[in-house]
């Protein structure tokens, strides 16, 4: 997943958590980067028509941005579910965060052929818990 998609996913989740525009500080915390880096990328994504940014309020995804964020979140859900259900990784949240930049959506689509995901995915993703609300780790 490329950096732009990771940002779009973070904006989407931040908007859901804050029930409004995604604040720069929230995005910086989620992405573990500086507010200046967030502002720079938000500006680029705004130029590409993927979000709108209002000073002192934050970023709001456009329809196109929401679509891209949905796809990115789906890829992330597949990675988490694959890690926990197939590889039985206990720390699947941390590992998914570490691996998401290296796993492309086409790769996730193949991994998706061997896991079960709820039909409403990625709507069932819980931003506070940082995982699917239905995800039950199958640990021995």
């Amino acid at each position: 997943m490329n950096t732009a998609d990771q940002y779009l996913k973070a904006v989407y989740l931040a908007q859901r958590m804050e029930d409004g525009p995604a604040a720069t500080g929230t995005l910086a915390d989620m992405l573990e980067v500086s507010p200046a880096s967030v502002n720079e990328m938000v500006g680029k994504l705004e130029d590409r028509g993927l979000l709108e940014h209002e000073k002192y309020k934050g970023a709001t995804l456009t329809d196109e941005g929401i679509e891209r964020a949905h796809d990115a979140l789906t890829t992330y859900c597949i990675i988490e579910r694959f890690l926990t259900n197939v590889l039985e990784v206990e720390e699947f949240r941390d590992e998914a965060r570490a691996l998401e930049a290296v796993i492309d959506d086409t790769v996730a689509e193949r991994l998706d052929t061997i896991i079960d995901r709820p039909a409403e995915c990625p709507e069932c993703f819980d931003p506070e818990a940082d995982c699917c609300s239905y995800l039950e780790p199958s640990l021995d």
Partner: protein, 164 residues
């Protein structure tokens, strides 16, 4: 969340190689399922080139899997047995439509594998981490596998073009 593609630790490297093993197992299993899924009439009349392609794909994936598994083993991690992945593929398998559908799925397999190895090689090259196994050996193995996946894409494309 981690921005940028880098493989920073042995643990991450092992995990990504494990994922590579599973991808190869999925390819191997799907290739075997495809042949079985074709209606009897179509299976009997199957283009010998397609049959050979699927057989080779399954063999090549098994060989890639062994090479990746050896690296995973050197990192003192484990891989998921083929039988487990085969059972998961079996549980969710939906046969593609006819021989052309099979070829298209095979093309996706090869392209996906190529993309995975390409990204993984890039992520290792971007990192200056020291691994418990020889970095050059890992990269050499991955580059060789990536090259075979590239050839695989070409082989499928050639057959698809000939059949078009």
């Amino acid at each position: 969340m981690s921005l940028g593609q880098r493989v920073a630790t042995d643990h991450q490297l092992a995990r990504l190689l494990q994922i590579g093993v599973v991808l190869e197992e999925v390819v191997e299993s799907r290739a075997a399922h495809h042949l079985e899924s074709l209606p009897e009439a179509e299976r009997e009349a199957i283009d010998p080139d397609v049959e050979a392609l699927l057989d080779e794909a399954a063999d090549e994936s098994a060989e890639h899997r062994d090479r990746l598994a050896a690296l995973v083993d050197d990192l003192e991690a484990e891989t998921v047995p083929y039988e487990e992945i085969n059972a998961l593929v079996d549980a969710r398998y939906g046969p593609p439509e006819g021989t052309d559908g099979v070829l298209y799925d095979q093309l996706c397999n090869e392209e996906t594998a190529y993309k995975f190895y390409d990204d993984l090689i890039g992520a290792i090259e971007s990192s200056d981490a020291e691994y418990a196994i020889d970095r050059e050996e890992v990269l050499e193995t991955l580059r060789a596998i990536r090259e075979e996946e590239r050839e695989g894409v070409e082989d499928v494309t050639e057959i698809m073009e000939r059949r078009a």
